[in-house]
């Protein structure tokens, strides 16, 4: 059992490239911390620094209060699950799982007992004498997990452990990992680029971009109160819609109409860093739209507008409706980066408008190609500074002038 602490940790490669920049992050004992971000954001590098597979250029890394910068991986009491599992092909499942204990010169009887125990947890008992080559992807993944839990280390490190599995198995293993982590109560760092995995799995999520930590917090906080445009666009699926806006008096002028700012939002806006005036980028989550016909009391809480639904996807439990809004493109370096990462650039910039997504209830009578009256819930409006990309809203509940300092020491966006 140990907590992990990054103190101003920087990774600089020989060619001067900084993969991780001044990372400050604390993972409390027993927590499952998710490091998430697009590829190349430095999340894997950060993990590998904890493992001791990468040198730390600057700063200190502490595990259980002790600085481990100079310690070899074997002296850190960690276990790691690799993306491609890295099972030893020449050993049986049993030997794979017992390898670490064997190196630690644990008596054979004890190794056997621990391996059998882990195999039981992971449902691998009938495969113990097989070689990894004869196992399915999911079984290999479980062996990799088994190799980690057999040792009962003080820290688990997982580097995109589910990315090689098919979708169904991924969901299944996700719950299994969560179950094992809770059962063992071992401090865990889990790296992924999949925000759904991050949202469902973690106690807390750290979002990284270009080597810089963007925001740390519980999934609900990242979803409800993103610090900046990048986090806002990255967390949530389908992702947040962005529109240019202008604050005038007590309302925001958006291409879909004027939205009166609810009192709660106004208080947070006034407590936020930018004050309550000027141009903004508004963030609207797809799930905060609704078919206006299904909403009672809509005038007081939001804005109603009409849009032609270009594409309608039925999920059974809900609809995804896509429509265009006549407006200028919002431009922000962070959003461009996000779009490039998801490959959505060409979709966004077509036909001189902004492509929007709305999530509508299954009861809606919406039809593809028809006009629909849509309603947006203004209470969930997000507002960002178009220049810096920072959120203009103070944390909910804080109410007053200072934004709550979330644990782990936040970094401002670059």
């Amino acid at each position: 059992m140990a907590e992990i602490q990054f103190d101003d940790v920087t990774k600089r490669y020989a060619d001067g490239f900084e993969a991780v920049k001044h990372l400050n992050l604390q993972v409390p004992d027993g927590d499952l911390m998710i490091l998430v971000g697009p590829s190349g954001c430095g999340k894997s590098t950060a993990l590998r620094m904890v493992a001791g597979l990468e040198d730390i250029s600057e700063g200190q890394l502490k595990i259980g209060g002790q600085v481990v910068n100079e310690r070899a991986p074997k002296d850190r009491d960690i276990a790691m699950v690799f993306q491609n599992y890295a099972l030893y092909p020449h050993m049986t499942v049993r030997d794979n799982m017992g390898f670490a204990l064997k190196l630690a010169k644990v008596p054979d009887a004890e190794i056997n007992q621990k391996v059998n125990e882990a195999a039981k947890i992971l449902d691998l008992e009938q495969h113990l004498e097989r070689k990894p080559a004869n196992l399915s992807g999911g079984q290999r993944q479980r062996v990799a997990m088994g190799r980690a839990i057999v040792r009962s280390p003080s820290v688990f490190l997982m580097d995109e452990p589910l990315s090689n599995l098919d979708a169904k198995l991924r969901v299944q293993m996700r719950t299994e990992i969560s179950r094992i982590q809770q059962r063992m109560n071992t401090t865990t760092i889990y790296v992924t680029h999949d925000q759904t995995e991050a949202m469902t799995l973690g106690d807390r999520i750290a979002v990284m971009r270009a080597g810089i930590l963007q925001q740390v917090g519980p999934p609900s906080e990242l979803y409800g109160h993103p610090n900046n445009l990048f986090v806002a666009g990255f967390i949530g699926s389908p992702s947040m819609n962005f529109l240019p806006g202008e604050i005038e008096g007590d309302s925001v002028k958006l291409p879909i109409g004027n939205v009166r700012i609810p009192d709660e939002l106004r208080r947070r806006l006034e407590g936020g860093p930018g004050g309550a005036r000027g141009g903004v980028i508004a963030g609207l989550r797809p799930e905060h739209f609704e078919d206006a016909g299904l909403v009672a009391d809509r005038a007081s809480r939001g804005v109603t507008f009409t849009a032609r639904i270009d594409v309608l996807e039925s999920m059974g439990s809900e609809f995804y409706a896509y429509f265009m809004v006549e407006s200028e493109q919002v431009s922000s370096r962070e959003l461009e980066e996000l779009a490039a990462d998801t490959g959505g650039t060409d979709l966004q910039s077509t036909r001189g408008g902004t492509q929007m997504t709305a999530r509508l209830a299954a009861e809606s009578r919406v039809r593809q190609g028809q006009d629909l009256e849509l309603w947006f819930d203004a209470n969930h409006l997000q507002l960002f500074d178009p220049d810096s990309g920072r959120s203009l809203l103070a944390q909910a509940g804080a109410g007053t002038s200072t934004p709550t300092p979330t644990a782990g020491g936040l970094q401002g966006p670059s």
């Binding site: 001791g52 597979l53 991986p73 074997k74 790691m80 690799f82 390898f99 670490a100």
Partner: protein, 299 residues
């Protein structure tokens, strides 16, 4: 191998076209062609071997009678060479020197190859280039200086006197083949071993070496055959049974008088030294093929 692939590839498109008899003719034609080629190759390579075997079974008097198959069969040549102290001693020297040189070469080469495959250090290319240059060096040009040097330092006509040059000339090839093998082993495996608590040396011996075993065996066999077959160093750096290997010993066989060449003895000795190599290759044939093609296809 290639014959099978060739015919297999040819028949499929034709069969899909529906013209079965045409395809069959084409198939037969190809099969005949390949069989003919293989037959010629086999005859060309096997006749000299058979010639030596038959020669070794002829009586000394009929050795030069010009017949391919002996008229008088005898094993006397074999018993003759084994009763000669020089041949058995040479056989012992060959086996000993060959094994020791090979073992040392593979041991050194595997650590060098590992470093080349895994580490990024200045002068890596230079080391590879130099080792390649050593392999290109004509051995005969080194024999003169080595002869003098070995006489001076007392290595002439000793086991180390042959082991050292054998090892040196085997190293470049070993480093090349082994580093290709090591490069194919995913780095994650080693990192996994490190995280599992292995020292770099343990990671090397317990994970990398077992996985590179086919490559190591292949290299071992190739290097051993090179040492076993060497004649230039053996004839120049040895003079007595103390270190003379079989190829050198055969060349010093003498007939009953200085005007007779002991063809039968030479042939018998040649058979005796060829057989172990052939057995080795036949046993490890699959390994050697697997070794030479490792990494060609992603598994």
């Amino acid at each position: 191998m290639s014959a099978v692939e060739g015919t297999g590839g040819a028949i499929r498109p034709a069969a899909r076209g529906g013209d079965r008899s045409g395809a069959w003719n084409e198939h037969t034609k190809r099969l005949t062609g390949w069989s003919g080629a293989l037959f010629v190759i086999s005859v060309c390579s096997l006749i000299p071997v058979l010639w030596i075997v038959f020669l070794s079974l002829k009586t000394p008097a009929s050795a030069t009678d010009g017949s391919f198959i002996p008229h008088h069969w005898t094993l006397s040549n074999y018993s003759a060479i084994f009763s000669l102290g020089t041949f058995t001693a040479a056989l012992r020297n060959s086996i000993g020197i060959g094994l020791i040189s090979t073992a040392l070469a593979v041991l050194l080469a595997s650590s060098a190859a590992y470093a080349i495959a895994r580490l990024d250090f200045p002068g890596k290319r230079a080391i590879l280039a130099v080792s390649l240059a050593v392999a290109m060096f004509p051995q005969i040009s080194l024999v003169g200086p080595l002869y003098n040097l070995w006489r001076q330092v007392g290595l002439y006509d000793t086991w180390p006197g042959l082991i050292i040059p054998y090892m040196t000339f085997a190293l470049p090839l070993s480093i090349y083949t082994l580093s290709a093998f090591f490069r194919d082993i995913p780095w994650e495996l080693e990192q996994a071993a490190q995280v599992d608590g292995a020292t770099p040396f343990q990671a090397f011996t317990k994970v990398i070496v077992p996985l590179a075993a086919p490559g190591i065996v292949t290299t071992f066999i190739i290097v051993f055959i090179i040492c076993w077959n060497d004649f230039v160093f053996a004839i120049s750096l040895t003079s007595t049974s103390a270190a003379q290997t079989v190829p050198a010993a055969i060349s010093s066989f003498s007939g009953v008088s200085q005007f007779t060449v002991p063809y039968g003895d030479i042939a018998a000795a040649a058979v005796v030294v060829t057989v172990p190599v052939m057995i080795l290759v036949l046993i490890f044939q699959r390994r050697i093929v697997a070794g030479l093609t490792a990494g060609a296809v992603k598994g």
